[in-house]
């Protein structure tokens, strides 16, 4: 599903990633772990082509991301949902409008959008907050809204960059439950986090990154959604 082949990324004299090679298979749940500044976010940025590698190739579902024309990038991003630590919600739009935003871009009509958004919002248990603005939400609710927005186009992959970073433990576990649920439904989830409390309790594969290099990969048989289902 996602392949990195000898990928390096340099920012001027600073090396963010060095010679990374990895393979993430469809339906996997992968934690990218490591301290702040290790290069986790850079990996996510390279997957959605927010950045280009200095060396090496990145593939998503067989397509070479690094060689895509700019006009192909939006189509790649429609297949990948993204969730961020700071939620990135539009403050002047309601929960419904934030979640419907990606569907508007697809040009769906209002009735279709309403149905899809209501179904998606139900998955994150925010039906009662549809008309609320982000400023009226708790951190956990805001992040669940962001997850709903990432899910609304039914992406094959969800990338989450420190999605629990701004949340209390209770809200963080709620977010993890939703991500696990999505993974159990077949979505590939890649989550960057430095919070070991979150990762240690879960059986998913962990890719540990330190100073731009993968130093540990716990890929084990059955550590993907099958294990999550059992859990």
């Amino acid at each position: 599903m996602i392949t990195f082949r000898e990928v390096s990324k340099d920012y001027d004299s600073l090396s963010a990633l060095t010679d990374i090679s990895m393979e993430i298979t469809p339906g996997e749940f992968v934690f990218l772990v490591g301290p702040s500044g290790a290069g986790k976010s850079t990996v996510l940025k390279l997957i959605i082509r927010e950045d280009l590698p200095s060396k090496g190739d990145v593939f998503v579902d067989g397509a070479e991301v690094t060689k895509m024309r700019p006009s192909e990038v939006p189509h790649l991003r429609r297949r990948i949902g993204t969730v961020f630590q700071d939620f990135k919600l539009l403050p002047q739009r309601t929960v419904f409008e934030n979640v419907s935003f990606p569907l508007e871009i697809l040009g769906l009509d209002d009735d279709e959008i309403k149905k899809i958004v209501e179904d998606t919002i139900a998955l994150v248990n925010l039906e009662h907050k549809l008309g609320h603005f982000p400023a009226q939400l708790s951190g956990g609710e805001a992040q669940r809204t962001a997850i709903a927005r990432a899910m609304v186009m039914r992406p094959e992959i969800i990338l989450a960059d420190e999605p629990t970073g701004n949340l209390d433990l209770g809200s963080a576990w709620e977010v993890m439950q939703i991500l696990n649920k999505l993974n159990s439904l077949g979505t590939t989830v890649v989550m960057a986090t430095h919070n070991m409390d979150i990762t240690s309790g879960l059986p998913h594969r962990k890719l540990e990154i330190q100073k731009g290099r993968i130093v540990n990969d716990t890929k084990q048989k059955g550590a993907s959604r099958e294990s999550v289902k059992k859990k």
Binding site: S71, R77, R78, I105, G107, M153
Partner: protein, 293 residues
């Protein structure tokens, strides 16, 4: 294309959210299109005035009393022989009285004491080129039968020079205002782009195409341009209706201010198109410069 109504709504929402930016762009463009329209009307008016004056007899030779038709015919043949005369017309004393009465029909006192006897007969002459007027005037002055020669070369030359000056000033002012409008649109849309950076970033992340992100800003430019052009032309039209009777009263029978509604409809169309074009150019330059998609 399916998204077009939605994107137009976004453009309106952004304008409403930043009314002061919109007002700045609107006022500058309004001023531009008002001045453009005013210069167009002045230009049409002065050209009409020139044509009117050129169509009038340019040299008038007043004849002494008692000149017979044979002598008049002799003078007309003499003028025709110069090959520079386009038209000659003899105005008898009776015709001169008729013209006088027509011109002063609202002044009965002036008409009361004037008879055909006190008005001179005349020959009115037009030339193909203005520069031949002095030559014709000299020829006529040498004639025994001619009492006095009057010609309007100076009026036409002065007016022609004024028209040229007004046109040049107009072109200068209009060019300056058009550039200013373009830059204002560019700055206002540039500001709006930076105000919506977060929204643009999210749009990019959820897979919006470059077209989808740019179009509302381009609509914003079109709206600034076309609405200000529409209002400016209507304002000019209203000003014209208000001011033209006074000016027309001063210039009496000169028909240079009779701008028909058709002219204003053409002007309206041209200004709206021009406004939309300036808006599009300003917005495209702004999105190319400030928007990285």
């Amino acid at each position: 294309m399916k998204n077009l109504p939605r994107l137009i709504k976004v453009a309106f929402a952004r304008i409403i959210r930043n009314p002061y930016h919109a007002l700045a762009a609107f006022l500058v463009m309004f001023l531009t299109f008002f001045v453009v329209g005013a210069f167009v009307l002045i230009s049409i008016g002065s050209n009409r005035l020139l044509s009117y004056l050129e169509s009038r007899p340019q040299v008038t030779a007043f004849l002494k009393d008692g000149i017979g038709s044979e002598k008049v015919e002799e003078i007309r043949e003499l003028l025709s022989a110069t090959k520079v005369v386009s038209k000659t017309q003899y105005v008898s004393k009776e015709e001169a009285l008729k013209i006088y009465k027509e011109r002063n029909k609202n002044e009965p006192l002036l008409n009361e004491f004037v008879t055909a006897e006190i008005l001179p007969a005349s020959i009115e002459v037009s030339t193909y080129k203005l520069e031949d007027l002095p030559k014709i005037a000299t020829t006529l002055e040498k004639e025994e039968a001619v009492d006095e020669v009057v010609f309007q070369q100076n009026i036409i030359e002065t007016l022609s020079a004024w028209t040229k000056t007004i046109r040049n000033i107009g072109i200068g002012v209009v060019t300056f205002l058009l550039v200013m409008s373009l830059l204002t649109t560019l700055i206002v849309i540039g500001l709006n782009i930076s105000l919506h950076q977060d929204e643009i970033e999210i749009m990019k992340l959820v897979g919006a195409t470059s077209w989808y992100i740019r179009v509302p800003f381009i609509f914003e430019g079109i709206l600034y341009g076309s609405i200000s052009a529409l209002v400016a032309t209507l304002f000019l039209w209203a000003s014209y209706i208000w001011v033209s009777p006074t000016i027309q009263g001063v210039f009496s029978d000169v028909p240079f201010l009779t701008a028909s509604p058709t002219i204003f409809i053409y002007l309206l169309g041209a200004e709206i198109l021009g406004g939309a074009l300036i808006g599009i150019i300003g917005a495209v330059v702004a999105t190319r410069k400030y928007l990285t998609v």
